[in-house]
């Protein structure tokens, strides 16, 4: 049976997680620009693990795709996925009424 107390804790943490995503997006963009696949895989892997845990399944989905594309050395797909992720993060921040650089 779900524990409401735990889910309240997760809800309280969502805001700071979304804020941290902008930093991760920047790091990912930087890694993609120089085709640092190890870094791309690591960031994709972390997003895959954390997104849905915070209640953002789409973040996990995109993270998994970025990890896979990184492992296959498919830079152009990574670029496309980063754009997708960027849009998603903006939308989520908007939904949470958070300025991107706050």
């Amino acid at each position: 049976m779900p524990n409401p107390k735990l889910h309240m804790v997760v809800d309280e943490l969502k805001g700071s997680y979304l804020k941290s995503l902008t930093g991760k997006l920047a790091a990912l963009t930087e890694a993609a620009a120089i085709r640092n696949y190890d870094s791309i895989i690591l960031h994709g892997h972390q997003l895959k693990g954390s997104g849905k845990s915070y209640g953002f399944a789409e973040v996990s989905s995109l993270g998994a795709q970025i990890e896979d594309a990184g492992q296959c050395r498919q830079g152009f797909i990574v670029d496309a996925l980063i754009i997708e992720l960027d849009k998603l993060v903006r939308r989520l921040l908007q939904d949470f009424s958070m300025p991107e650089n706050s």
Partner: protein, 497 residues
């Protein structure tokens, strides 16, 4: 009249500790503090006064702190289930006690000695006067200490907050090096270990943790969906795994299961240690009992033999198989022996549990009757009930022989002393008799041949007596014990009395 709230109830059977704790709490500003000297009084006061918090010692006679907790939380005590109970103990300082406290639904378990401030902080938390903070985790370490090893700060933050909210004491590490330090420095019970770590890999760290702290339960947390990897982790000692992304409820459940496993293993381990200790003590006692030259045995209230050592086997000739379970009186008592085992129990109760018999007669399997020195001790159960008696018996036949010899020696000394005295006393008159008889022989003119022969016989007899007296004097020398007169020893002389 309304009572000042909050009302606290302190329970301790140690009067000094009870007074101290009560005074400290009053000093802290709590005006209404009740004191109970035992578990029953605690229950009664709780029923009548409905305190807001109970602080109870665990080790109290009849109703202990754990039982107080369970009673207050039971349906038999409606309305008291929400009264928090802080348990304190100087006796129980292990994981079993914490587990029992947890199962008894205590608010916290505090080991003594502790700082007053620690108790005050727990009181504040229990009364809801302040919210738990990170620093309080060790006080409320109901669910043990957990180490989160993950390089993703978002995952660490999520796990740390959710598990702290659950009551865990949480430590974190973002690298292998940091994780090693934590494991070395803290009594970690559970590790949530990320498979992918920048300065190493989860598998290597898993193996290291299992070597370093084998009792710790390790749950692998991984976004890796490769089944072979997971199997490999389990093969290398991982107790469970959680897949990322995860649901906090699943993490909570996995951690609780892991803690149960940890506690079960620790309890099992502690039982094993206690059993081993007990076994070594029992083996040692067996050795002591069986190597004893004395007969050692124990009986129940009816005299049925429970323990029969090798010494008893040697002394009486009955083997343990023969006698255990049978009434000892039927085997060892001579036919005319009146006192039976129930009488022994009565005497032991009257005399406070022990009885020493300097000499009673016993019967061997061969039928021989012989004297023993016996010490009886009552066996009393932990509840104070008499459940039987133990006996140590020593064959005193050799002692008796020595005593007889001692008596003979004393007699011998007396006789030799008499001989010395007699020699001194008799020699003089004998000399006189001899002298006068010789004088008569020489001075009486015309002594008839019959009278001369009579005087000759007197002199010969006197000389014979002197000879015997001289020999007696020689024998009175303590060194010459076996001197004999025509095959007669001094021992024979003394025995002939």
């Amino acid at each position: 009249m309304t009572e000042d709230r909050p009302l606290l109830l302190v329970a301790n059977d140690d009067r000094a500790m009870l007074d101290l704790t009560t005074a400290q709490i009053r000093e802290r500003g709590f005006r209404s503090v009740l004191a109970a000297g035992d578990g029953e009084e605690t229950i009664e006061l709780t029923r009548l006064r409905r305190p807001d918090l109970v602080i109870s010692d665990v080790s109290m006679p009849r109703v202990d702190g754990f039982q107080i907790c369970r009673i207050l939380k039971s349906p038999l005590f409606p309305g008291s289930e929400n009264i928090p109970v802080i348990l304190t103990s100087a006796t129980y300082r292990d994981v079993i006690a914490e587990q029992v406290a947890r199962n008894s639904r205590a608010f916290a378990y505090l080991q003594q000695p502790h700082e007053p401030e620690t108790l005050f902080r727990l009181i504040d938390l229990a009364l809801g006067q302040s919210e738990p903070e990170v620093g309080d985790r060790h006080l409320l370490r109901y669910l043990g200490t957990i180490l989160i090893v993950d390089d993703d700060p978002d995952i660490v933050a999520l796990l740390e907050h959710t598990l702290t909210a659950e009551g865990w004491s949480v430590l974190t590490a973002s690298s292998v090096a940091e994780a090693r330090l934590r494991v070395e420095d803290f009594p970690v019970q559970l590790v949530l270990l990320d498979y992918t770590i920048p300065d190493g890999n989860g598998l290597e760290l898993l193996c290291w943790i299992k070597r370093q702290r084998p009792e710790a339960v390790v749950i692998m947390v991984t976004a890796n969906s490769n089944e072979d990897v997971l199997i490999d982790l389990i093969k290398n000692g991982a107790d469970d795994y959680i897949r990322k992304p995860f649901d906090p409820d699943d993490v909570s459940l996995a951690c609780r299961n892991a803690l149960n496993k940890y506690n079960f293993l620790r309890i099992h381990e502690q039982f094993q240690e206690k059993i081993e200790k007990l076994r070594s003590v029992t083996d040692y006692l067996d050795l002591v009992i069986n190597l004893s030259q004395e007969a050692i045995f124990s009986c129940d209230l009816f005299g049925r033999v429970k323990i029969w050592n090798k010494g008893a086997e040697r002394m009486y000739g009955f083997s343990a198989e023969e006698i255990i379970g049978n009434v000892v009186d039927d085997y060892l008592d001579p036919p005319d022996f009146k006192r039976k085992s129930p009488d022994v129990m009565k005497i032991l109760k009257q005399r406070g549990g022990s009885l020493i018999e300097t000499e009673i007669m016993r019967r061997k399997k061969s039928g021989e009757i012989f004297p023993v020195y016996a010490t009886y001790s009552a066996i009393v159960s932990t509840e104070g009930e008499y459940i039987g008696f133990s006996v140590i018996e020593r064959d005193v036949t050799p002692v008796r022989a020595l005593e007889t010899e001692r008596i003979r020696s004393a007699r011998l000394r007396a006789i030799t002393q008499t001989a010395v005295t007699a020699n001194d006393q008799i020699n003089t008159p004998l000399g006189v008799i001899l002298g006068y008889s010789q004088l008569l022989q020489k001075t009486i003119p015309g002594l008839s041949p019959e009278h001369a022969a009579a005087l000759e016989i007197i002199q010969q007899q006197v000389l014979k007596i002197k000879g015997i007296m001289n020999k007696l004097k020689l024998m009175s020398d303590p060194i010459v014990k076996n001197y004999s007169i025509e095959g007669v020893t001094m021992l024979d002389l003394t025995q002939s009395r």
